[in-house]
């Protein structure tokens, strides 16, 4: 039983070794870059060019290049669309501004609605809508009922 547990532990260690040994910077780049042929995150893609890009990233990191410079190299090779997030300039700026503008607009609308609602005052249950004539008749009927 103990030998089986030891064997399972050894197998788990062998399987986990590549993940444990992976450079976290490599993982970070793979989560910021797209596969140009399948349009998935590089971290999720297994296309031939994705495997080649992984090798490139690993080699460049080993050669001492910074993640920022490696992403720049990939943009030089595959164009700006290789980045998972569009650059915050030119046309790409729209992708950042539209969601931010939408969120700001929604917050302003909620604020304006809440303010207008507050100005209306508390709900009086609709008593203000009852005519004085009806109230007078109600009083008369209640008096008659008490008697």
């Amino acid at each position: 039983m103990i030998s089986r547990l030891l064997a399972a532990a050894a197998l788990a260690l062998v399987l986990a070794t590549p993940a444990l040994g992976a450079d976290p910077r490599e993982q970070r780049i793979e989560n910021r870059v797209m596969c140009p042929t399948c349009h998935q995150l590089l971290a999720l893609s297994h296309s031939p060019i994705a495997e080649r890009m992984r090798t490139f990233i690993r080699t460049q990191l080993a050669a001492g290049e910074s993640p920022h410079a490696i992403e720049g190299d990939l943009v030089d090779q595959f164009g700006p669309a290789v980045l998972a997030s569009p650059p915050a300039r030119g046309f790409g700026l729209l992708a950042w501004l539209i969601p931010a503008g939408g969120a700001a607009g929604a917050a302003a609308a909620v604020f304006a609605y809440a303010r207008a609602w507050r100005r209306q005052g508390p709900d009086d249950g609709g008593a203000a809508d009852v005519s004085p004539e009806l109230l007078r008749r109600l009083d008369l009927e209640l008096v008659a009922y008490d008697e």
Binding site: T37, P48, I49, R52, Q77, F78, G79, G102, A108
Partner: protein
Amino acid sequence: MHKVARAGAVALVAVLFVLLVVHMATAQRGAAVAAAVAAGKQPAAPDFELDRLDRVGTLKLSSLRGRVVVLNFWASWCHACKDEARTLAAAAKQWQPRGVVFVGVDSQDFSSDARAFARRFGLRYADVHDGSGSLMTRYGVTGLPETWTVTRDGRLAAHIGGVADTRRLGSAITRARRA
């Protein structure tokens, strides 16, 4: 206040819709080019100017007017392109002395890998780099390799989807030469 918010929301949706339509129209244009050639028509070949891999500088398709052009889309990571490379090298050797220009469009690839591939398979013709694959979209290329022939006046004459063999390549070049 409500009117301003409503107008803003409508404008936002309109902008997003226009962007979607532009994106879809670009993709459809490429597919339309391929469909037109399949229907026997000869639409204008989408022009391009891309960096060369075989030498310094760029190559513009329209600068080759007056000559029949074989346009081959490929990549070094594409296995089928390896099967096709020797056929293309032999065809270029056969047809280039007769005035036919061969142009390789290395797509979605590292330029260093492409140069090594061209050396390995003896591809002695112009190669350009389309790293983003945007030219593929304009030609409606859905997989690699694909080959087009262009007439002397810049119209698409024939399309070969997949690996081009000597017979199909010869037939596509002949069609472009006769147009």
